[in-house]
């Protein structure tokens, strides 16, 4: 459990970081953020990056502000920053209700939201949040920047659209309109474990009926995503048990479930049914 040899770079500015990343990326250079995923896999020697570009001292990446109706989360912002609402509207409350499901307190004080997104664990709560809310992910490289919509960002198990010389500099979330309802639920074997399935739902109520429903499911497929079938089962319905069950059933049927030696596809569908319904129930509590 001692990592293989590596060189650690400690840039102070974003330009410097991007220049080093451009140089070392071809030699398996990687970004080091909170280290809560990367360091364990290095200790196991499952990852052997020759270079680490440590961004923990890069100026400006700790940005956490609302600008033009969007919440901007820089690459150095830790999970723990969301323990209290970061903005007074529904988005701040949503993020605060989700964050407590991530790992344990010490890990949340170190791990970063952008690190989670870049790591792309299928069960990651932040990946689910970004997918459900259609976050915009700002990728920076030496001499360039592009904005990747969440739906194009997650490409499968631990795999994203980021190029190896790209740094995920920011995640941006549209603020949620006042009155937006939301609910989150996940199932894991122990508190703080990666979820075996998780769901996040948001919607508004217009004339007593559900509108603009978003239902995201994580941990059940290779990447978290919105489930249109579940959203369709909600839109136009009165919020309540019947609609919630219909949406849960639709989500359960729509997924292409991950399977492993302990977990059958059928069981994963059971879990999705449960977490989607419970997320929706949480939205009215």
């Amino acid at each position: 459990m001692k990592p293989a040899p590596f060189v650690r770079h400690t840039p102070r500015t974003l330009d410097e970081a991007l220049a080093i990343l451009a140089e070392v990326a071809p030699q398996d250079g990687r970004v080091l953020a909170g280290g809560q995923s990367l360091v364990p896999i290095m200790a196991f020697r499952m990852a052997r990056p020759a270079h680490l570009v440590d961004i923990n001292e890069v100026a400006g990446l700790d940005k956490l502000i609302v600008e033009n109706g969007m919440l901007i989360v820089g690459a150095r912002v830790r999970h723990g920053a969301f323990h209290k609402p970061v903005e007074p509207g529904p988005l701040g409350a949503l993020l605060a209700s989700v964050v407590h499901n991530i790992a344990h307190y010490p890990i949340r004080m170190r791990g970063t939201m952008c690190g989670s997104l870049a790591h792309a664990d299928p069960s990651s709560e932040w990946c689910l949040t970004a997918a459900t809310l259609d976050a915009e992910l700002v990728a920076r490289r030496k001499g360039g920047e592009r904005i990747i919509p969440a739906r194009d960002f997650f490409e499968g198990l631990m795999s994203t659209a980021l190029k190896e010389d790209e740094l995920l500099a920011e995640a941006r979330y549209m603020l949620l309109p006042a009155g937006t309802k939301f609910g989150f639920n996940e199932f894991s074997r122990r508190a703080g474990d990666f979820a075996m399935s998780a769901a996040l739902a948001t919607y508004r109520i217009v004339d007593g009926r559900i509108a603009d429903a978003r239902v995201g499911v994580g941990g059940a497929e290779a990447s978290p995503r919105r489930i249109p079938e579940a959203e369709a089962a909600l839109n136009g319905q009165m919020p309540g048990d019947a609609a919630f069950r219909a949406a849960a059933e639709a989500a359960s049927a729509a997924i292409d479930p991950l399977e492993d030696i302990q977990t059958t596809g059928e069981y994963r569908r059971d879990l999705v049914r449960a977490v989607v319904r419970r997320a929706l129930e949480a939205s009215v509590k």
Binding site: M1, A4, P5, R190, A191, Q262, Y267, L271, R273
Partner: protein, 756 residues
């Protein structure tokens, strides 16, 4: 009469260094010039070793040596202790694999380098070519060959008494179950470690990082290395958890010692977590096919159990202990007129097994208590009633079970089993609890209560020695052959010494785990220390007290019978006249050395504490998740020297029991690749998963086998946890007999529900 210290919850003497960050665990020990040792392990479950190429590893700067089986060809396999069962020898493990590998994680080569990083880099460069062979993974399935002419069925243990066949022929009902317990083990937070060095000037080999059984390991290393016993010393430091697995003699310990000798430099080996989960003893995996013959009222007429014990790839130091204990302790607290157990000890291509806290009993209690629940269902009576009808009575004590284990006859020394059930039921507020459950069920919740009982064993002999030295300054040292794996040995022994001798508790220093301080010692296992070392301490203290009083009497111008000792002062029983410090008496005996005494306690019988577990669980029908909401253990310990420590033992045990019931499991794929190699896959319960606990310590049945009435408490919290939780889940779902396999994972519970 000396002031009462035994029976008080004294704070632990051992805590100050631990609580102030001054602990000294294995990895805290280093010597100048030491080499870091790294083991290269098999990546295959079963295969023939074609070649091991160490050339690239040897060439790496900083690498001092790389060894393979050829370099340790002189070393015999590691022997078995505590057993008189024959036929185990051919299945023992050599310290490095010879021509075959038999589990993923088996040591094949070992690197010695300047530091741990280089050693691990070099280990990656060792190329092991293995021709894969089919793996045997199911101990209850088809057997294979360990080696030509040696089947993977090592031995079959048979125990029993009475005419079971006749009982089954005439019984009103027969209840049959197939039950299994998953592979899990003690997983101490401190991994193993061995730091060895050789002092040529004194021709002395030393090993640090020892635990549990330092004397036996010292003797064994001496035999394996062909050295004089007196030329090796083992030293125990702080130990971050034992649980049966830590401190046994493993290949790595022997290699570190041998290397220190051969390479002439200190050698330090610290196990990492991934190694720990594939290299340190596994335990528990058993399948039981059990049946009971009963009459119409649910009285047991006979019990028969055939079980398969998955020993993993080799027979290790515990030999046949786990299966032997499972067979011997299965009858538990019940009157079973006829009994037969047939236990198959089978090898598989998995990490070798050993004992884990309540070895054989966690498993056989699960089997027996599931059987009792099935009997209740069959006879149409409540699970509590089924137990009451079959319990042994107080008047049956002492009760000769007519089986033996660990070289002793199983004779329950004392007990009031029915009385303890009543205490447990009172403590839980049984009726209120049942009512609350009923109300919650009506509201749609899936909650249930389960109860399970057990008899434990403790205080395994055959002996323990203690020497007490009273220095002229008044300081007292109690030197024992016991070991401390964190359970509070120092505190308990000091309490017994202080009260018996009449000394102040905090003047006592207890020495353990140091082979150079006492000739022999058996160490810490089988909940034995408080009983065996405790009684030896009491004897030595009593002898010393008598001696001090005899010397003091003429000085104090009275008769020894008129004197008493308390808090280190000798005074007249009537309170008149002056008093005298025991230190002064010690000085008058020998101004330089003071006074001392020695005593041994020999015992050929174990003592038998017993307990009741009650679990309240909630089941999530949709996900299969199970939450333990509350847990109670009532335990009769005979006499609790320090109730706080007894509670501590039980509390930790419950946590481990819940782990084995719901979470912890070493899983393998179909090729024998281990899947539980990190703490993300091997799920230990955390504080979140552990419910509020109630612990009832009862002292109704002191042991008649030692004057203080002592019994042990190390294994009480874990013993019946699997059984009680399984019963509670059945109860919650209203499906008696649903749970037949531990751990109850959500996936398995959902599948079991779907199959109904």
């Amino acid at each position: 009469m000396a002031s009462r210290i035994i029976g008080q919850s004294r704070k632990r003497l051992e805590d100050p260094p631990l609580l102030t960050g001054q602990g000294r665990f294995a990895s805290d020990i280093s010597f100048p010039d030491q080499l870091a040792m790294r083991v290269v392990r098999s990546g295959y479950a079963h295969g023939r070793i074609v070649s091991v190429d160490t050339s690239e590893a040897c060439a790496l700067p900083g690498v001092f040596a790389v060894w393979t089986a050829d370099d340790v060809a002189d070393l015999p396999p590691i022997d078995v202790r505590l057993t008189n069962i024959k036929g185990l020898a051919p299945y023992r493990q050599y310290v490095l694999a010879r021509d075959k590998v038999r589990y993923v994680g088996e040591p094949v080569a070992v690197v010695f380098a300047s530091d741990a990083y280089t050693a691990e880099d070099a280990a990656d460069l060792v190329v092991i070519d293995i021709e894969e062979l089919p793996a045997v993974l199911d101990a209850a399935g088809e057997t294979g060959d360990f080696a030509p002419g040696l089947p993977t069925e090592v031995i079959v243990i048979e125990k029993g008494y009475g005419d079971a066949d006749a009982a089954f022929k005439t019984a009103q009902h027969v209840v049959s179950l197939t039950l299994s317990v998953g592979r899990h083990s003690g997983v101490p937070l401190e991994t193993r470690g061995a730091i060895a060095r050789y002092d040529a000037k004194h021709d002395m080999l030393e090993m640090y990082g020892a635990a549990k059984v330092p004397h036996w390991n010292r003797d064994q290393i001496a035999i394996m290395l062909g050295r004089e016993r007196k030329s090796i010393n083992l030293y125990e430091g702080h130990t971050g958890g034992g649980f049966g697995v830590r401190g046994e003699l493993y290949p790595e310990d022997v290699i570190a010692c041998y290397a220190a000798l051969k390479l002439g430099r200190p050698v330090k080996w610290i196990e990492d977590r991934r190694e720990n989960l594939v290299a340190c003893n596994h335990s528990r995996e058993q399948t039981h096919r059990i049946r009971a013959a009963i009459d119409a009222e649910g009285h047991i007429l006979a019990v028969e159990d055939e079980f398969f014990h998955d020993q993993g790839a080799y027979v290790r130091t515990h030999g046949a202990t786990v299966a032997d204990l499972a067979a011997a302790m299965l009858p538990g607290p019940y009157r079973i007129p006829a009994y037969r157990a047939v236990g198959h000890i089978r090898l598989t291509n998995k990490t070798p097994g050993g004992t884990y806290r309540a070895p054989g009993r966690y498993e056989s209690t699960f089997a027996r208590e599931r059987l009792l629940d099935a009997i209740a269902a069959k006879a149409g009576i409540s699970p509590v009633e089924a137990r009451r009808r079959n319990l042994l009575q107080k008047a049956d004590m002492p009760y000769d079970l007519r089986v033996d284990t660990l070289g002793t006859k199983v004779v329950y020394d004392s007990g009031d089993y029915g009385g303890l059930v009543r205490k447990a039921i009172d403590a839980t507020g049984w009726q209120t609890l049942r009512d609350a459950v009923a109300t919650r069920r009506k509201a749609g919740e899936t909650v249930g209560v389960g109860l399970a009982m057990f008899v434990e064993k403790s205080g395994l002999g055959p002996y323990d020695d203690v020497r007490i030295e009273l220095s002229p300054s008044g300081a007292i040292e109690v030197i024992t052959g016991a070991a401390s794996i964190g359970q509070g040995v120092e505190t308990v022994i000091a309490q017994i010494c202080a009260e018996t001798l009449g000394a102040a508790f905090d003047t006592i220093r207890v020495t353990h785990g140091q082979t150079d301080r006492i000739e022999r010692g058996l160490g810490a296992f089988a909940s034995r220390v408080t009983v065996m070392t405790g009684e030896a301490t009491r004897r030595a203290a009593e002898a010393l007290r008598a001696r001090l009083l005899a010397i003091a009497a003429p000085l104090m111008q009275t008769d020894a019978t008129q004197l008493t000792v308390s808090d280190g002062w000798i005074a007249r029983t009537d309170g008149s006249g002056p008093s005298m410090a025991i230190a002064d008496v010690a000085r008058s005996i020998d101004a330089t050395h003071g006074a001392s005494s020695e005593a041994s306690f020999e015992s050929s019988h174990m003592v038998y504490p017993y307990g009741v577990h009650v679990a309240l669980v909630q089941v999530d029908r949709e996900t299969g998740g199970v939450t333990v909401e509350r847990y109670l253990v009532a335990y009769d310990i005979g006499r609790a020297v320090n109730p706080m420590l007894v509670e501590g033992q039980i509390t930790g045990g419950i946590a481990q029991g819940i782990g084995g019931a719901l979470l912890e499991e070493f899983l393998y794929d179909e090729r024998g690749e281990p899947l539980s190699v990190t703490f993300a896959d091997y799920l230990m319960p955390t504080a979140h998963e552990i419910p509020p606990m109630d612990i009832v310590i009862s002292e109704d049945a002191p042991s008649p086998l030692n004057p203080l009435g002592l019994k042990g408490s190390g294994e009480a919290g874990v013993n019946a946890a699997g059984a009680a939780i399984a019963a509670a889940i059945d109860d919650a779902l209203g499906m008696p007999g649903l749970i037949t396999r531990l751990p109850v994972t959500p996936q398995r519970l959902k599948a079991a529900l779907a199959a109904r």
